[in-house]
Symmetry: D2
Subunit: 301 residues, 4 copies
Amino acid sequence: MADFRTDLAVEARELWAKSAAETDNLPGVEVQTRDFSGFEVTAVKITGEEGENALKKPRGEYVTLELDELIRREDDAFSRGASALAGELRSLLRLASADSVLVAGLGNEAVTPDSIGPRCTKYTMATRHLAQHVPEHFGTWRHVSVIETGVLGTTGLESAEIIRAICEKLRPDRVIAVDALCSASVSRVCRTVQLTDAGIVPGSGVGNSRAAINEGTVGVPVIAVGVPTVTDAATVAAELSELAGFSPPDEGKLRSVSDGMIVTPREIDVRAGDISKLIAYGINLALHDGLTVADIDMFVS
Amino acid sequence: MADFRTDLAVEARELWAKSAAETDNLPGVEVQTRDFSGFEVTAVKITGEEGENALKKPRGEYVTLELDELIRREDDAFSRGASALAGELRSLLRLASADSVLVAGLGNEAVTPDSIGPRCTKYTMATRHLAQHVPEHFGTWRHVSVIETGVLGTTGLESAEIIRAICEKLRPDRVIAVDALCSASVSRVCRTVQLTDAGIVPGSGVGNSRAAINEGTVGVPVIAVGVPTVTDAATVAAELSELAGFSPPDEGKLRSVSDGMIVTPREIDVRAGDISKLIAYGINLALHDGLTVADIDMFVS
Amino acid sequence: MADFRTDLAVEARELWAKSAAETDNLPGVEVQTRDFSGFEVTAVKITGEEGENALKKPRGEYVTLELDELIRREDDAFSRGASALAGELRSLLRLASADSVLVAGLGNEAVTPDSIGPRCTKYTMATRHLAQHVPEHFGTWRHVSVIETGVLGTTGLESAEIIRAICEKLRPDRVIAVDALCSASVSRVCRTVQLTDAGIVPGSGVGNSRAAINEGTVGVPVIAVGVPTVTDAATVAAELSELAGFSPPDEGKLRSVSDGMIVTPREIDVRAGDISKLIAYGINLALHDGLTVADIDMFVS
Amino acid sequence: MADFRTDLAVEARELWAKSAAETDNLPGVEVQTRDFSGFEVTAVKITGEEGENALKKPRGEYVTLELDELIRREDDAFSRGASALAGELRSLLRLASADSVLVAGLGNEAVTPDSIGPRCTKYTMATRHLAQHVPEHFGTWRHVSVIETGVLGTTGLESAEIIRAICEKLRPDRVIAVDALCSASVSRVCRTVQLTDAGIVPGSGVGNSRAAINEGTVGVPVIAVGVPTVTDAATVAAELSELAGFSPPDEGKLRSVSDGMIVTPREIDVRAGDISKLIAYGINLALHDGLTVADIDMFVS
């Protein structure tokens, strides 16, 4: 199998399994699947160096939720999806009750498949100023700040630099970084959310590698929330060829032809909007006990 | 070669040529290439039934401009491109000096690769009301009206129905219909404009076939202006596989995997904006003698 | 009292009452107030010529709903407001079960206070094509088509011309025309919806008078739905001066100073969005029996 | 004269002059008018405490450009306006050739009259990363970074906090802060740009006072660039009444009636776009020697 890029640990492990001649056991990687409120959850834990090298991802826990039901627009799918996301997120955040959080939306709002981060911030509740200025109503709320980092090309600044600068002044206890990802498989695009405590390299979803955002670079534990919105044309060609029973063509040739092209759902504008809102609601529910979807509706709209 | 869809006559002819075992001569089709202000122009004329069947396009002239220079953002590429477009458009329109024109933007503004038509109308100068209400300044201008037809899913109306209704009241001498197209080749996506006097089937660019818009259905000669903004994933897989030296996989299998996915440039938001503006300026220049790009800047911004 | 412009019949009557030296009785005008689901409703019926002249509005019924609760964002205010609107709208529409409807959004999406009509169409369910193409599911639904007419300056066409053209082809049984209005009082801006069977003169909300849209001009009974989003600066100056105990200054002088300026809520972008959605949901509920707000959420988002 | 709010020093001084019984001389304030490329420029210099108290503005130089010509859309008004702005800005910036600059867009993109800052950043050239990563082409360019600070209600963070955090990491030599302002006079709304080395209190343009941004609070000299986009309804009422020959009504009463309402041009969406672009181009020209408007067109679009 050619060495196609993916930001999803669950996919990286599948690709490894395919290429492995021997048995299905990879040292330094643990996989667990479970159900959360009807959503399929897969947790891939990379615990050692061998796992890091095989999956090309840093050590950490990578939790993936399948959103098929949401896509099918079942009746209460949105609120169940947001709750499931909140539950998994809470496990990774491990917050004490007074801990404060900085939510950072990464990516480019003007490029639809890269707009998950900025769109998500529109629905995320900033509460820090309320807790400070209206203590009689919000004094017990968790302090949450929300920023959009923009992209290097329009700011001149790495997202990691901006987050680190804010963290040094603000001293939040956790950072939640939201970004678009790249998948190696068409079938996961806009259908999966990955949560991880291993941080993130922003912009990889659309192909521009940049400085990593994790506890090492920003000084605060980082939980990354990502959604694959694209897969590149070369990857799709290989995947489809293989499914059709042919050996995949040479990767270099594929890339030279399809440079700059992405594969994305026809309805990406609508999908990116739906999923960004779902993530934001999940974050809000995870950060504030006792909050409901209806409360958030009143707050953010 | 598998039978992949394209809205471009120039591509359909290339695909035919590839599959043709014999000589490169297709009865009922004439091809001519020329240069217009440094832009490569290819004119495919379908003159008979044999050509219609082979290229799966109705009789008519299909003129294609390559916009490579524009993509490379050469200094005066925009105004030269708009002028070239205007020149070719004028040849197809064959307008008398007092003829009036209805410009119709087709497609869905909320779906980026389908937004060429609605975006284009923002830059197209409506002059009919000015000619009527401010005759001292605009009395000699051509009467131009501009509409967006929306899409069936949000209006309940076929674009053809709306245009026909307006034409019956307004009695314009020509309709110019602008829409996004679908290409069979990655290399033409967002790099080509096709002008044709054969009309258009709106929405084919993103895969929803609808009622044709041509002189037969709307009662007025229709010049269609289209830009390929996508190619579907199955087509790309086949194209890339072939380039890489493998037989393309079975089309049916490809389609079942890649259903609902499109291949589009990473920068489609920016590209769709640039090209829509170019087309609109080309239309404005074609419809009003003596107008300059600077005049249009003042008028539409 | 100076002769300031208002599109609201309820205001025109109040202004008349203020200026009337004698008793509070205006021949040819009937006024009734009632409560609908907790919303205050005022119905002004202009029945004769004397009323037309006094209120400067054509004969017809003008129903006004006060949306104060919605502004205060009470818990279920949105769905109660949409239901109240639907109830009053149904009374004016007087539809038979198989009657079809054309909903037309008037105004300019690019000018926030004039964007009520176009924004409303985004949330209005088009069903005509579904009833035709998917009869097994939608065969019994009312046929509803939805158009945006754009504005004269960018289309070259009066909204009335476009609606008339569509009506002649489509033969709907009713037209619902949605537009922004102008109020004479700051206190009603973005807080009131007026429904009327007397039609509408589009664009008057932002000061550009155009061709009327009513049964006489489009050939089909027209129910207009309007929201005041602005009041002009001169009107506000007069109103405020008067409230402060001074004679209002001369209208001509006021207008010369404040030309082109409007008074609007600081949060007009948010308000215009909220109210447009409310109106659309009210229309959807009025047109389709048994529909719920949750159904519409699934359909339009 | 009632004590109406203005962010413009030139207006504050006019209001003072009106109310001053005696001669037209205010200690601690110097005023100079000049012409720059055909644009009228007024420089108000507050040099002492008496001036600070009288004009309610901190010490510093306040330079105002009248943009009437731009409004009249004269032929080369845009490039002449951008050059004039650049010239005045350069005088206030006093940059050494290797000095770096952080440009901060303040305000709320979702509230049109408050969107000058964020819109301006879209056209401002970020060059820091280019100078670092592509030194062969951009090695001699000034390092410019560009951020949008968002607003307290959606971020939980004061703009001053964000700018200070970035400044402590990035150590720029100057900050340019762009924001919408509030004018006391209808005639200056969207027709004037104020440049000042005294910093800015963000959000005052739409009435929410927040933490000041100046050398004292962010640690770097701050040049503020502002455009009045609104004036409040109470101010307009007073101004118009006075012009009409009446004593202005009591301010408290006016405010209670017009709370939350603003006066703004009908075409504020278009105007805010035009002026934001002008400011950005002026900033770009001021920061990079030898740059032309055409260069910027290629860079930012």
